[in-house]
């Protein structure tokens, strides 16, 4: 199969897993906060492990380009947060809040998936197994992200099926940017270390500015640290075995 199709396939698969996040609400269940906290901790660990893989792959191809790309990724995520006014947005707040809050969360999710798409595209350019691995890691992260979004949207009267649809739609930028990033690094291989660095910086900044601080509020720091480390350990182990 053409590699671009593989990128399309796995990026779409990763985007579509957001549907699973709506699962609990289809059965009319309410999620306990601590479970979302642990899901976020798992996502943090996987993304930190993925960032480690991106960094190792990047540094094998160029030092300064990776570092500059990483700074760009960090600045990009930090800037989109402050520019969209979602810097201190509390995604734990499932009830209350204004109507605009639901849309803000939707906006945050689509901004996130843009940098996640770059990660998939850049990883796919390194090697196909690494790219598929990255897509799967981000797919796992998309589930709790969608769960939080669906909890907020259904709390505001949106039907469960529509909420699930919006959660997937928020990930469209992921598919788009995965293909664009892949096409660019294929056409100009010199940009690959930049893309790897960018994706790495963006993932770490996402984890540090959102996933971790939120999970600490939902559960004790010791259990969050343990869950994060187990997820990170598994990801790093799988990467080293595959390499």
């Amino acid at each position: 199969m053409d590699r671009t199709l593989v990128v399309l396939l796995f990026a779409s698969l990763s985007a579509a897993t957001a549907v699973l996040g709506a699962g609990p609400f289809a059965f009319g269940q309410r999620l306990p906060q601590s479970r979302i906290g642990f899901a976020n901790a798992v996502a943090s660990g996987m993304m930190l492990g993925a960032a480690y893989g991106l960094l190792v792959a990047g540094f094998a191809r160029g030092l300064l380009a990776v570092a500059c790309g990483a700074v760009l990724g960090i600045v990009f995520v930090a800037w989109t947060h402050s520019a969209s006014g979602t810097e201190e947005l509390d995604l734990n707040k499932l009830e209350g809040g204004s109507e605009a809050y639901g849309y803000q969360v939707l906006l945050v999710n689509s901004l996130h998936s843009a940098s996640e798409g770059v990660a998939i595209g850049a990883a796919m350019a390194v090697s196909q197994p690494f790219g598929i691995f990255m897509a799967l890691a981000i797919a796992v992260h998309n589930v709790p992200e969608a769960t939080v979004l669906c909890a907020i949207l259904t709390g505001r009267g949106v039907r469960v099926s529509s909420a699930a649809g919006l959660a997937v739609a928020a990930n469209v930028s992921q598919v788009l940017l995965a293909i664009v990033a892949y096409a660019i690094v294929q056409a100009a291989p010199g940009t690959l270390p930049w893309a790897l660095g960018f994706a790495m910086g963006a993932l770490v900044q996402l984890v540090m500015s959102e996933l971790l601080p939120e999970s600490y509020r939902q559960s004790g720091s010791r259990s969050i640290a343990l869950v994060t480390m187990v997820a990170m350990g598994i990801v790093v182990l799988l990467q080293s075995i595959a390499a």
Binding site: M208, R222, L226
Partner: protein, 242 residues
Amino acid sequence: MSAVVTVFVYGLVTAVATGLGALPFALIRTISPRAVALANAVAGGLMLGASFGIVAEGTGYGAWQTLAGGLLGVVFILVTQQRLGDPNVAIAGAATADGRRMALIVIVMTVHSFAEGVAVGVAFGGGPTLALAITVAIAVHNVPEGLAISAVLRPRGMTVLACAAWSIFSSLPQPVMAVPAFLFVETFRSALPYGLGFAAGAMVFMVLEELLPEAYDRASRARVAVVVSLTLVGMMLFQRVL
């Protein structure tokens, strides 16, 4: 023999860095929580970056062994915490410090240093570059630790010099533990990935369990995140450039 001396000296450098934490108290009575938070964020980023470097080194020798070592590192920190109670409690209660609290924070921080000493020693098994990187990370991490100790001791009327001395004392296990850890991985080369994993596991756990939650409590999470991410990248670059 000279290698052992080098390891000891590197361990001593990280210990002396703890004393730097007492310096701000020469000028001011108290320190703003935000400054402590950002110092923690810098230390967190450096330690995560150092751990990434250690893991990259360790998985080169064996991925499973590194992971097993990491598990040991986490268990070690958990067990010592269980024995001594939560150091965060002692730091938070700085204002109501009494003799017992003063003793407690020094003891907790001292035991805390054992794993860091092992990290310095094991890193030497992975080569001088890795050793230098880990030493810098731990030395910087020690500064806010010295700050925390001094914040408890200084309001009780201790001199700045005494604060610095107790801070350095709390890190003395670092040179002491670094040497046997280094000799161990030198003698049993097959133990190296376990040792590297131990160091990385212990450091990442400390970052996730203590440094980051404390930092988020006292400063805006956007600022903490940028500081952690940038220092992580800087640390990785530093390790590669050397």
